[in-house]
């Protein structure tokens, strides 16, 4: 469950990332957040992963009061959310296996469990045969699948995906979306921030439209549009 109440993020006197945003996402939902550049989508992601704190309002995510979260608790909180970035954010000096394992290592998981889980998760995203390659030896689509594997490996209840198909061609985009749908089918909540009209329209899931930092539309089975309906 994700709950944002009266969220405002103000950067300077006249610059707002978000203004008075109220949003409730139930467990297991697949929500697409759309909007033009500069409408607050990235700000929303940063608030959801506690990279930034709101100026006003409350954020509750899976039992965490993210607004009041202490710095020392942020790593623990982040281990319970899977995050997928447009620019992948893979550790370039680590292999595919090591990148995925890292998410478990930071949580202090035992060696045996890591050895067992990582190949299984990489098999799920179809990269079981490329575990010992480095990120630069993979295509964009493969790198994004590694990121998905990394975000999945600690079985998060929520996955936040920031333009996960932004750097991919249509075939890879389709593959990534299929994986995300499968993950959602197993009960994981997915918040997808995207510009991709086709992706949103094919999903036929909930669509939230942001404009100038405010929610102007929230439809249960929506389509991609950038103005209020």
């Amino acid at each position: 469950m994700i709950q944002l109440q009266g969220i405002t993020k103000q950067y300077t006197k006249d610059s707002f990332g978000l203004q008075e945003v109220d949003l409730f996402i139930e467990a297991g939902e697949f929500v697409s957040v759309v909007g033009q550049s500069g409408t607050g989508k990235t700000t929303l992601i940063k608030l959801l992963i506690a990279e930034e704190k709101p100026t006003r309002g409350d954020i509750h995510i899976g039992g965490w009061d993210v607004t009041k979260i202490k710095d020392r608790d942020i790593p623990l909180f982040r281990r319970q959310i899977g995050v997928i970035f447009q620019d992948f954010k893979l550790l370039s000096k680590k292999t595919v296996r090591e990148n995925v394992a890292f998410a478990l290592q930071v949580a202090g998981e035992p060696y045996k469990r890591i050895r067992d889980i990582v190949p299984k998760v990489l098999d799920i995203v179809g990269l079981g045969h490329k575990m010992d390659r480095y990120p630069h030896q993979l295509s964009g689509g493969e790198q994004q699948r590694v990121v998905i594997a990394r975000s999945l490996v600690h079985r998060p209840k929520i996955i936040v995906a920031d333009e996960p198909t932004g750097n991919l061609d249509s075939i890879n985009t389709q593959e990534i979306m299929e994986i995300l749908k499968k993950i959602n089918a197993f009960g994981t909540t997915i918040v997808l921030v995207t510009h991709n009209r086709d992706v949103v329209n094919q999903l036929r899931k909930r669509v939230v439209v942001l404009q100038e930092g405010k929610i102007i539309s929230d439809e249960k089975h929506g389509k991609y549009h950038l103005s209020a309906t």
Binding site: P75, R78, V83, F102, Q105, V106, P110, R150
Partner: protein
């Protein structure tokens, strides 16, 4: 416990996978340590050289050949009891004559002139060394009393006074210069290390933020860098110690000409190896640690 071993393992993995950067960091640290050692040995050699010259200066009191044994004993006891005196060596007139003959054994004219005389023309002497060259004047003053006029024939301090003053002036200048040079090297070393580590951290800033985003704690991110600092410090100190050891072995014969000891630097280095290596390791580790903590701080705010 898992995290501890993982941090060490990540540190070695990072070092190997960033081998170029690791080598450059160690190279810079070695250069800094060699600079520190150069400074140390310049100071050591100058201090030893001035001490050697000081050691060669003393006050020689020539006693009258008419002085009785009791009078000689009284003067010797009095000199030995003075708090400034560290050593007073009495030489009888026979010993003085023997030394004189030894000194001029190549000069037949002087020796034959001496043989012409049927008796020993040289009186007994007392050679005095004090804690500080400044004390020589006090000793002379205390011997210049009427009771000793007939016993003490002459004192040779006046000739050495100029040399002592010069040595004092040179030593003071060298010490001031050394302090300034040490401060200068210290600042340069800090800047070099700080910037080397900062560049190393800067190249890994993206990795640091990614680690934070997947849930690593600050200490889990910092840990490998602390281990790397420790390893770089140990490695650079070890290499610097080896280089310095072989270098001073080459320099010792040349320095021995001045100091009269062909193994002066090597002996000093071996006898102080643990403290020297320990201090150098401590300085390098402290600098690398502080630099990496400062450089990393901004990238950890994710």
């Amino acid at each position: 416990m898992y995290s501890f071993f993982r941090i060490i393992s990540f540190a070695f993995q990072d070092m190997v996978r960033n081998i170029g950067l690791s080598c450059m960091t160690v190279f810079i640290l070695i250069l800094m340590l060699l600079s520190m050692n150069t400074l140390l040995f310049i100071r050591l050699v100058t201090t030893e050289a001035t001490a050697t010259v000081r050691d060669q200066i003393d006050v020689t009191v020539f006693l009258s050949d008419e002085a009785t044994g009791d009078e000689v004993d009284e003067v010797y006891t009095y000199i030995s009891s003075l708090p400034e005196v560290t050593q007073a060596v009495f030489k009888s007139s026979d010993e003085v004559l023997a030394d004189f003959r030894e000194l001029y054994k190549q000069n037949a004219d002087i020796l034959s002139s001496l043989d012409e005389l049927n008796e020993n023309p040289l009186g007994a002497t007392i050679i005095i060394k004090t804690t500080s060259p400044a004390d020589y004047a006090t000793i002379i003053e205390q011997l210049s009393v009427p009771e000793y006029d007939t016993i003490v024939e002459s004192k040779t301090f006046t000739d050495a006074q100029g040399a002592i003053e010069k040595i004092d002036a040179i030593t003071t200048s060298i010490e001031k210069f050394s302090v300034a040079l040490t401060a200068f090297f210290g600042i340069i070393a800090f800047l070099i290390i700080f910037n080397t580590v900062r560049v190393a951290i800067y190249t890994q800033r993206v990795e640091i933020s990614i680690k934070k985003l997947v849930g690593a704690t600050n200490w889990f991110v910092r840990g490998p860098y602390i281990c790397e600092s420790l390893f770089f410090s140990i490695l650079s100190t070890f290499i610097a110690v080896v280089i310095v050891y072989f270098t001073i072995g080459l320099l010792d014969p040349y320095i021995g000409v001045v100091l009269g000891n062909n193994t002066f630097l090597t002996n000093y280095y071996i006898s102080h190896i643990l403290s020297l290596a320990g201090v150098q390791f401590g300085i390098v580790f402290f600098l690398t640690l502080v630099s990496s903590m400062l450089a990393m701080r901004r990238y950890l705010r994710v």
